[in-house]
Symmetry: C2
Subunit: 232 residues, 2 copies
DNA sequence: AGCGTGATTTTTGCATGCAATCTGGAGGTC
DNA sequence: GACCTCCAGATTGCATGCAAAAATCACGCT
């Protein structure tokens, strides 16, 4: 065993709206374990022993097991009957599939968000974009990452399809797992922001094909940057 | 309470490879409840009381609850904390989203299956297609439905992306729920088969754009037929 | 040393029991 | 009659306990 901290979300962890224990352990556990996986505190392939996790979160095995089943459906946990749970592996092959799938959805998002988003929604997205630029200038990588996720998720929401939004979120989560390990380099961040600028222009102009194309290109550029660092 | 049969999968139900109870109750329950939902035996919105389901499957509440959490992740069951589980609603609005999402994936499938499928895989798909035609001529709607699902799922597999394949299957399931209630009319079935013919031609010719276009069109025609019957 | 083989320990799967919450209705008040 | 309030019954949430399965280890064998 490693001599690491056994602490779970002691009190005020980073993510703001963490479900309260008292409101039900299921949501609390799902959010808590998901966070630990997304932040890389639990690495891909790591064993998720029930007794261990029960200790960290101070709950009994019943709600914990239910939470693991739920996370398995999100593709974050791998369940092997009679052999326990592990953090879902994230090899380059799967990551390539994840980026490719996300690309297909980005295409859809571009075609539809350009038509369906209201002016107010576009203004809201613009604010997110500006907050993202501010975070980069302030050199706050933690904020930058969270705002970047929020920006793309909001854009996905503007496409107006609940089903694809859920899938998009799942894929985004699995990418975030990889991204958290690789400290994006500054030059890629600046290039990314420039792409965001062009995305906002296409959206404001409500240019469907243009927006779709830019989103796909942005996804591919991100994929290339992430995969390059992964495949060391 | 209705005076209906309380029987669950007594012995030899229709679906061939049902997980064995002895191999673990989780898979058994997930497959069993999913089947009941997909076949319409449990209608949209129906309450899924734990005691009731425990009685039907002769299991205790612990594995049953775990199965419900898993099915919630598939979009088939709606879980409301402290208020129990219901079969996920399938209103026209959601169904429209499901078809639209599936359309986006069909586009991707067309672009990639045309390039990635091996000759042997195309031949295998051709066999499925011919079995489908045979089922239609034999007027075996049960077989037709199952083969049709298998055909499209196999085509999705040929696109070579595990992530989108899982999503595709989820969406297909939710459509099947609606389709099972509406007894496709024969003229639509024949039109559908004609579309399949053209799909096979495009795939054999490995014509990416053509295949994508035909798959999207097929999806939209199906959507129109299903939605027309739903919105009575 | 390498490799089965069997006992011990650990871990998972499932059932049960109690506490908390929700639901439905009777009775009271305005 | 409409609207609380409170009480039973039913249902869900969670913890615990036992049995089955895997993993670990010790031992003996070739």
């Amino acid at each position: 065993m490693s001599g690491e901290s056994q602490m779970a979300p002691s009190s005020a962890s980073s993510s703001a709206l963490r479900p309260d224990r008292a409101r039900g352990l299921h949501d609390y556990l799902v959010a808590g374990i998901r966070d630990m996986i997304l932040k890389g505190e639990l690495e891909a392939g790591a064993r998720l022993g029930e007794a261990d996790l029960c200790g960290r979160f101070e709950v009994s095995r019943t709600p914990l097991r239910e939470a693991l089943k739920a996370l398995s459906g999100e593709g974050l946990v791998l369940l092997q009957p009679n052999r326990g749970a592990t953090v879902a592996p994230l090899d380059p092959v799967r990551l390539r599939d994840v980026f490719e799938a996300k690309g297909a959805i980005e295409h859809f998002i571009g075609l539809n968000a350009a038509v369906r988003a209201s002016d107010a929604e576009i203004a809201g997205l613009q604010e997110l974009h500006e907050a993202l630029v501010a975070a980069e200038e302030a050199e706050a990588p933690q904020d930058y990452t969270e705002l970047n996720e929020a920006y793309h998720l909001e854009l996905a929401r503007l496409a107006g399809n609940e089903e694809l939004l859920k899938t998009y979120e799942r894929l985004q989560h699995n990418i975030l797992r990889a991204r958290h390990r690789i400290n994006d380099d500054p030059s890629r961040v600046r290039a990314s922001l420039a792409e965001h600028e062009r995305i906002m222009l296409a959206l404001t102009a409500r240019a469907r094909l243009d927006l779709a194309e830019r989103l796909v290109a942005h996804n591919e550029a991100t994929a290339a940057a992430v995969l390059a660092k992964i495949a060391v």
